[in-house]
């Protein structure tokens, strides 16, 4: 508790630290806390993007990684953001999986609040937490949320929709 008194802006400092360290070679994870969702929207104002929410314990998600990796390479203009619905304690495993699938060069986040339900609700009050969960945002940030593994054709249909 003394920490908060000493450093009232600690979350901000940490966020900056994490963001800066993302430039290092090792993939860095930004802590996704209350407010982070709005921050992502603000950072990507007027731009379409895709937000992929996944977990190291979600077998369907892991199966999806290879396709995500190739879609990322084939569509350099489309911003892809990934959010691991795990905990900061799982950082090593998250980084390992991202590294293996060459998904380290993009914005990567990890849940960083004790109550994950609050974070999920902030993203989408109708989402029960099933994974993977993928959101496609057009330039005006109208979004479509899809649960479950998608086919290449599904992705391409959604890309066409948000990039037009």
């Amino acid at each position: 508790m003394f920490l908060k008194k000493l450093f009232p802006s600690l979350p901000l400092i940490l966020a900056i630290a994490f963001t800066s360290s993302a430039r290092a070679e090792q993939p860095q994870l930004q802590p996704f806390a209350p407010g982070s969702y709005q921050q992502i929207l603000a950072n990507n104002a007027d731009h379409p993007f895709m937000l992929v929410i996944w977990s190291i314990t979600c077998s369907s998600c892991l199966k999806d990684m290879e396709l995500l990796s190739s879609l990322h390479k084939e569509n350099p203009d489309l911003k892809m953001i990934m959010l691991a619905a795990d905990t900061v304690d799982d950082t090593d495993q998250i980084q390992q999986i991202l590294g293996k699938n060459q998904l380290t060069g993009i914005d990567n986040w990890v849940f960083a609040d004790e109550n994950a339900q609050k974070l999920r609700f902030e993203i989408d009050p109708k989402w029960y937490g099933e994974l993977p969960r993928t959101y496609f945002f057009d330039a005006s940030h109208q979004r479509t949320g899809i649960s479950g593994v998608m086919s290449r054709a599904d992705y391409e249909t959604m890309f066409a929709k948000i990039l037009k």
């Binding site: 450093f7 077998s59 199966k63 609050k118 029960y128 993977p132």
Partner: protein, 396 residues
């Protein structure tokens, strides 16, 4: 690259973070009550034959058992099960299991990482919980296949049934078609021999959803499980053990048509009354229904009463549990309004035909587990864990 001074600053900040973590946990932990530091809000409970309430409490590196003779108002000193440090792994959908036999033997089964990646350990006590046996493996594939989602039942003849989700048949491991694996079990009446012959029940089981298991009035296990049917539909089936010990083929019981390749982490609940009516509660986001539902079946799932939608659908009602005691049936589930989690209950006094209004009985804005309903044969209780208060145990 980071400049060295920046690195030093970062190290300092992380040091402070660690210090603050230790500081706050030391402050928060009530040394007398390990439930205050239960791992991921997963305390499990079971009544003994004498009405004593037993708790199994996982923490980061150890699991503890304690007990109460006043229905959860006070607890005796906790006893540690594992003398060696183990990295315990539990989450609300995968809590540890505790059950007490009619003779008073206490059994526990918990999921931990030790050498192999992920498996479960069994231990028991024959001296009323004063000492516990050295934890042993149940899986004979523990070095290569996950063993989790533990369930345990003990029948009146002291046969101990352990059930779990097992990845041994999933040859492609992380590349499985649909996140499906197998349901296994082992049964023994002599835990001291530590012989748990592993037996297959069914494949095509949704890996991340808890399975619900209880006894029929005839004393045989009945299982309600979220299946991954060959077309990818994740609806539920009942599987029953016949009197000669064989398992029935899964009988598809819910028909919501939820076709998805995803991890819902949202398994069903099951309770069977003395007249063999099976009461079911489950979650779906199918084409036909979305949300949580209650229904009952008198013919082991071949026909089902009209599913009843539960809860405020604007508040993500989820993780339902159900219990039947005589003609009473109680349902409990969670709702979340954006800030706090409510435990909501609903009750029937006519075996699930008519129901009371929803009633909110507990609330927390902290991280919390799933509600669990238990009975001592006379009364029904709710067990729920939240990180702010710890373990709640209240009569319904």
């Amino acid at each position: 690259m980071l400049r060295p001074c920046y690195k030093i600053a970062l190290t300092f900040l992380f040091g402070l973070l660690l210090a603050s973590g230790c500081h706050s946990s030391a402050k928060d932990v009530n040394a007398d009550d390990p439930a205050k530091r239960a791992l991921n809000a997963t305390v499990s409970v079971s009544f003994g034959p004498d009405g004593r309430l037993w708790r199994l409490i996982p923490t980061d590196n150890a699991v503890f058992v304690d007990s109460s003779t006043d229905n959860g108002k006070t607890y005796g000193n906790p006893v540690k099960i594992n003398s060696n440090i183990q990295k315990i792994s539990t989450w609300p959908e995968n809590p540890p299991a505790i059950t007490v036999s009619a003779s008073g033997r206490i059994h526990v089964l918990y999921y931990a990482d030790e050498q192999q990646q992920s498996t479960s350990f069994f231990s028991y006590s024959d001296d009323n919980g004063q000492t516990f046996s050295k934890p042993v493996l149940i899986s004979d594939h523990a070095d290569s296949a996950m063993h989790y989602m533990d369930q345990m039942l003990v029948d009146n003849n002291n046969n101990i049934y352990t059930f779990w989700h097992d990845a041994r048949d999933d040859r492609h491991s992380h590349h499985s078609a649909a996140g499906a694996l197998s349901l296994y079990y082992a049964v023994t009446d002599e835990p001291a021999t530590a012989e748990f012959s592993n037996r297959f029940i069914s494949g095509g089981v949704c890996s991340c959803c808890r399975t619900a298991i209880t006894f029929s009035p005839g004393g045989k296990p009945v299982i309600l499980v979220r299946m991954v049917f060959p077309d990818g539909t994740r609806d539920h089936a009942l599987i029953t053990m016949t009197q000669n010990g064989q398992w029935s083929k899964p009988q598809r019981t819910t028909h919501d048509d939820w076709k998805i390749d995803a991890c819902p982490e949202h398994g069903p609940a099951l309770s069977i009354d003395t007249q063999s009516r099976a009461h079911l509660a489950w979650f779906t986001l199918g084409d036909k229904r979305q949300g949580i539902y209650y229904a009952h079946t008198d013919d082991l799932g071949k026909t089902l009463s009209e599913p009843m939608s539960l809860g405020n659908t604007g508040h993500l009602p989820g993780h339902p549990d159900v219990i039947a005691l005589g003609s009473r049936v109680v349902l409990a589930w969670v709702e979340f309004d954006g800030n706090a989690t409510d435990i909501v209950i609903k009750e029937s006094t006519d075996r699930g035909l008519t129901w009371s209004k929803d009633r909110k009985i507990l609330n927390s804005s902290a991280k919390s587990g799933h509600p669990k309903l238990v009975s001592n044969g006379e009364k029904i209780f709710l067990s729920w864990t939240s990180n702010d208060v710890g373990h709640h145990f209240i009569e319904i």
